[in-house]
């Protein structure tokens, strides 16, 4: 006898999408955390990319400008890799972001205990539940990280334009900026998934009765 329980991908995406739409403001807050963290990451990286190119021109007036803007350039430097302090701040901001996401997702899972229990009574496997939450996190992650990456990159452009004048437009290192933006985007989606994993697994492992017993 074929004893298979299935949940097609299309259906799980549909359920995840509906859940996000139904709890739009909650999702928005989770997403906003990501937007901020990712835009900070993108801003820092793209700013360094721009400064690097300016340094690479070897133009003394540009170097002067960089120094005036607070970049530490030692003689003979060819690259302005993020300083330890800067890396530390970025790491910290990403860490805070993950903690925020875990918090929001735990709340969302707790709110949906009964729904999860019901789904399990209807025959859902543990991994369907995990999958629905992971799909939701991926969508939120993609949305939040895209907005964040665009926001961060744009503000880095504007900051460069404002600090170094219109001449910088010709100098913009497009390939490096593209790589930085995509990295920030991927990091954001990664963080979103990292944040949902524990709440989702916790939800999926619950016995249906426990889930149903929760008062709401």
């Amino acid at each position: 006898m074929r004893r298979l329980i299935v949940l097609p991908w299309k259906k799980s995406i549909e359920i995840a999408y509906k859940s996000i739409r139904a709890r739009f403001f909650r999702s928005l807050i989770t997403t906003l955390t990501l937007v901020l963290a990712v835009s900070f990451l993108a801003f820092s990286q793209v700013s360094i990319d721009i400064a690097d190119t300016m340094l690479a021109t070897g133009d003394p007036s540009l170097c002067q400008m960089l120094l005036r803007c607070g970049y530490d350039i030692l003689p003979g430097d060819t690259s302005l890799a993020a300083s330890p302090k800067q890396r530390w701040i970025i790491t910290l901001s990403l860490l805070v972001c993950v903690v925020g996401i875990i918090n929001a997702q735990l709340m969302s899972v707790t709110e949906r205990f009964r729904e999860i229990g019901t789904m399990k009574c209807l025959g859902a496997l543990d991994r369907f539940i995990v999958r629905i939450f992971v799909m939701e996190a991926t969508m939120q992650g993609f949305a939040g990280a895209s907005v964040g990456a665009i926001l961060g990159t744009t503000s880095a452009f504007l900051a460069a334009l404002f600090r170094f004048g219109p001449g910088t437009i010709d100098l913009l290192p497009w390939p490096a900026i593209f790589v930085s933006t995509v990295t920030a985007l991927a990091t954001g989606i990664g963080l979103s998934l990292l944040g949902v994993l524990y709440p989702a697994i916790m939800a999926a492992r619950m016995q249906p009765v426990e889930a149903m017993r929760v008062e709401q």
């Binding site: 004893r3 509906k18 229990g117």
Partner: protein, 242 residues
């Protein structure tokens, strides 16, 4: 034994360990339920009927004893088989309706069919048929919050029937409904059980249920107090059923 047994429970006990004390909720229950019957499990609050209901439905594990559904010991099933059992063999109806709030009535009804692998269009047409069977024509696009309690319970009944289960388990299906709506749900369940030949097992303390039950199992203090057939029952509650 002429009739086919659909549920068999032997020596069932359930303890809840609350840390300092262990509460013995079920103290050894033996039951045999025949296929196609309408069974009510009656008993006062705290008698263990909901616990028994959860055991029969495979939603909780017994401390001791065995539950057989269709002569299969459900303790022996792995996660996949248990999910299959919940999906295909058993339909659940709850006191609190438990519809998925973000889905429409139709989507709630088709969800178990999706799990069972029914193709989309077939699921939709069967879902619409079930919704009209429970008297909800034209309400399929409504979310649970836009439906009344009785209507929500009707959706839950339709959902329970989605995969043509052998058993419908109803835990106080009328507990959150007013008198007349409760009666409507009860007669709906009775009618569907007769039409589809489904075994209905409902845990309840609603005396309206007695009129339609083929058999009433009285639970008291974690044990089976008495089992009454319909014939005995009418003498017992003659005044009420008239």
């Amino acid at each position: 034994m002429s009739e086919k047994l659909i549920v068999r429970v032997t020596g069932l006990t359930k303890d809840f360990d609350l840390g300092k004390i262990v509460v013995k909720v079920l103290k050894g229950i033996d039951l045999e339920i025949e296929s196609g019957k309408y069974i009510s499990i009656m008993g006062p609050s705290g008698s263990g009927k909901s616990t028994l209901f959860n055991m029969i439905g495979g939603l909780d594990k017994p401390t001791q004893g065995k539950v057989f559904i269709d002569e299969v010991d459900i303790a022996q099933l792995d996660a996949y088989e248990l999910a299959w059992l919940r999906c295909r063999k058993i339909g659940y109806i709850f006191q609190t309706f438990n519809l998925i709030p973000v889905m429409t009535a139709l989507e709630n009804v088709t969800l178990p069919m999706t799990f069972a692998g029914t193709p989309g269009e077939e699921a939709v047409s069967r879902g619409m048929k079930l919704l009209s069977q429970v008297g909800l024509v034209g309400r399929h696009e409504h979310k649970p919050a836009e439906l009344s309690g009785g209507q929500q319970q009707r959706v839950a009944v339709a959902r329970a029937l989605a995969n043509n289960p052998a058993i419908i388990l109803a835990d106080e299906p009328t507990g959150n409904l007013d008198l007349s709506t409760g009666e409507e749900i009860i007669s709906l369940l009775k009618q569907l059980s007769q039409e589809e030949g489904t075994t209905v097992i409902s845990a309840t303390h609603d005396f309206k249920m007695l009129n339609v039950s083929d058999q009433v199992i009285w639970i008291r203090d974690g044990r089976v107090d008495k089992i009454q057939e319909r014939a005995d029952l009418e003498i017992h509650t003659g005044g009420m059923s008239s």
